[in-house]
């Protein structure tokens, strides 16, 4: 008969033996990097190629959250043990995050060596963190509706487009917010001329509004709108096999920057790994892979894209110079008033 003590001793021995090869124990020794990232094609490439390669090289695991919105989740997590180590959002949200001390102010080449190779816009005074890619916000239009290629933002106000123009619910979409500022520049004294922007917005009615860019793509593809505010990536991705009668136009007044920004949370327990991830995302080979997958303009100057991408994306200092970066700090400070005003203007 086996005594109780013997049974316990043999049980402990077996458990110890089993744990020697147990992946869960090994896993506990592996660092985990918690990041946010987009879904769709971007998410597919990240999960299939980019993240596994990073995990292999840095001997870590990456936990990627694709469930937007990210900032409210970061807001309620402890600052000394944040839910994310790296926050990937568009620029305006990073400005909200930095005000609350949820992300770092600047990422420099000291922490992330590849920052030395980025275009100036990627680390300009309009950016918190560092930009890894940008899109150009301009006008998408149907090529089968007899419309001339728009050369100015004013083309959207053409009376022929009444009810067939598309925009965004400004309180919830940064493209809509950037477009509002652009209206101030085109019809008034500059990006901060809200009175001129409100007046110009009123003149765009009737306009179909959506709350995210994917919906705008669908509206353009289904001809529900003939022209709408959209980023170049949302149009160029339908080239080739996906060819659709839509095209993108860069207005002469300039295109607005829709930056993909990475930043590190100050309370991250794996800050070095977080910086390594941003550095990795700025590597030319990773930049090329993602840029060509989703038609984003890479922030790293050293990236050489295939000819068809190079022709359309912002890959030279001259093309990059056409980018206009909104002052999100200024905008966010007035956000409540702007939201109320535009809601009243566009309702009804």
């Amino acid at each position: 008969m086996i005594s109780r003590r013997k049974a316990l001793r043999s049980g402990v021995g077996l458990a110890a033996l089993a744990s020697m090869g147990a992946p869960s124990i090994l896993h506990a020794q592996t660092k985990t990097l918690k990041i946010t990232t987009w879904g769709g094609k971007w998410g597919e490439v990240m999960k299939a190629t980019v993240l596994p390669a990073f995990e292999k090289e840095f001997k870590c695991t990456v936990s990627a959250d694709q469930a937007f919105p990210f900032l409210p989740k970061l807001q309620v997590s402890p600052k000394n043990d944040p839910i994310y180590d790296v926050l990937h959002t568009n620029s305006n949200e990073q400005w909200n995050a930095v005000v609350e001390g949820l992300v770092m102010n600047k990422i420099t080449a000291k922490e992330v060596p590849n920052v030395a190779d980025v275009y100036p816009y990627a680390v300009s005074d309009k950016i918190v963190g560092v930009t890894i890619f940008t899109s150009a916000i301009g006008l998408g239009y149907r090529t089968d509706k007899g419309l001339a290629k728009p050369t100015s933002w004013k083309a959207l106000a053409d009376p022929k487009l009444a009810g067939a123009r598309g925009g965004y619910l400004i309180p919830v979409n940064s493209l809509g917010q950037a477009h509002l500022m652009m209206l101030g520049k085109v019809y008034g004294k500059g990006l901060t001329d809200l009175d001129a922007a409100y007046k110009a917005l009123e003149a765009l009615k009737p306009i179909k509004l959506v709350d995210f860019t994917g919906q705008m793509e669908k509206m353009l593809l289904s001809a529900e709108v003939s022209m709408g505010v959209i980023h170049d990536s949302g149009v160029y991705r339908y080239e080739g096999a996906n060819m659709q009668p839509v095209d993108f136009a860069s207005p002469s007044e300039g295109v607005l920057a829709l930056e993909q920004v990475l930043n590190v949370t100050p309370g991250s327990k794996v800050k070095e790994l977080a910086f390594a991830y941003i550095d990795y995302m700025l590597r030319p080979d990773v930049q090329k892979l993602l840029a060509e997958a989703v038609w984003y303009s890479p922030a790293n100057k050293k990236v050489k894209l295939e000819a068809k991408y190079d022709a359309k994306l912002l890959t030279t200092p001259e093309k990059v110079a056409t980018l206009i970066q909104p002052d999100w700090k200024w905008y966010n400070a007035r956000r409540e008033d702007i939201d109320a005003r535009v809601t009243k203007i566009l309702k009804g």
Binding site: P69, L71, P72, Q75, V76, P78, K79, N96, E100, G163, L169, P171, V172, N173, K205, I207, K208, L209, D211, Q215, S222, A223, E224, R335, E336, D337, D339, A340, R341, T343, K344, L346, K347, G348
Partner: protein, 291 residues
């Protein structure tokens, strides 16, 4: 020896439901209410202070959109409930009185089938039907019956159509159970005493089915006023509801405190409407409170 009062077995059975209610409604609601009286998140921000400014912002509504959003939310909820009742009641009555078991099962499947598809998918389906280049407008324009698209979407009409489609099954299923339990012989007795079909229905079946009408209406009303996806996709520029404003405050304005205040206000106003509705129906039924 003293007898220690022991909880009855039914109390143990209710306990899990009570625990779920406390954990997933009472506690979150208490936290939301507490947050609505703070300037920020007191857990992560030591400078957050007690304030009533979020409620003042709503009450004084200098922006001029919050009262309209509340009214719009309630209007959509009430119209959706009414239309769902008008569509659902005859269907539920027919189902409850159906003799064929196979027929009943087939109709029940038809009622439940739409619920097996997600709300987002069903809303997108409505968009393809009602939008300017949708099935209806394209067909009518091709037939030369209209010159420009009918305004079927991007307004309250489209929102209510989609909401009714989504919530009618809740009304039907609630009413079927109640109407099915009404003794048919009561209606037959009324008719044998000289009442016509309509009078027998109005004076016997309808009053007896009021608890079902109340339960179904409250369910549909509660679901409609808290709907977010459908008004967002179908409403365009014309529709702004409180759930949309709450989502904006949390997701893009990053102001959970004001979102909490809006949530509390929506709940209080809805509760007031529910109590009033309950009393009106109770009076109509000649009884006391019904729920």
């Amino acid at each position: 020896m003293t007898n220690v009062a022991r909880p009855s077995p039914i109390a143990w059975l209710i306990a899990p439901a009570g625990l779920v209610f406390v954990l997933f409604f009472v506690l979150p609601f208490a936290v939301m209410t507490a947050m609505s009286f703070y300037s920020g998140n007191p857990v992560t921000n030591p400078n957050a202070f007690l304030t009533t400014r979020h409620y003042e912002r709503f009450i004084f509504d200098t922006a001029g959109i919050f009262h309209e959003a509340l009214w719009s939310t309630l209007r959509i909820g009430l119209v959706t409930t009414l239309v769902s009742l008008l569509i659902g009641y005859p269907l539920a009555h027919w189902m409850a009185r159906m003799q064929s078991r196979l027929g009943h099962a087939l109709v029940l499947m038809a009622v439940i089938a739409p619920m097996l598809t997600g709300i987002v998918v069903r809303t997108f389906a409505w968009m393809t039907i009602l939008q300017d280049k949708g099935v209806i407008n394209t067909t009518l324009m091709q037939w030369g019956l209209i010159e420009k698209p009918l305004p079927l979407m991007y307004n309250e009409f489209g929102t209510i159509v989609a909401l009714v489609h989504i919530y009618v099954p809740f009304m039907v299923l609630t009413l079927t159970g109640v109407i099915g339990r009404i003794d048919e012989r009561l209606e037959q007795a009324a008719r044998s005493l000289g009442a016509g079909r309509l009078r027998a229905f109005v004076e016997v079946t309808l009053p007896l089915s009021l608890p079902g009408i109340l339960a179904g209406s409250l369910l549909v009303f509660a679901l409609s006023i808290s709907a977010y996806v459908t008004p967002s996709l179908m409403g365009g520029t014309d529709v702004l509801t409180l759930p949309m404003l709450i989502a904006q405050q949390v997701g893009t304005s990053f102001n959970p405190n004001f979102a909490g205040a809006l949530g509390v206000i929506l709940l209080l106003v809805s509760l007031a409407i529910v109590v009033a509705y309950n009393r009106i129906l109770a009076r109509l039924a000649g009884g006391q409170g019904m729920a």
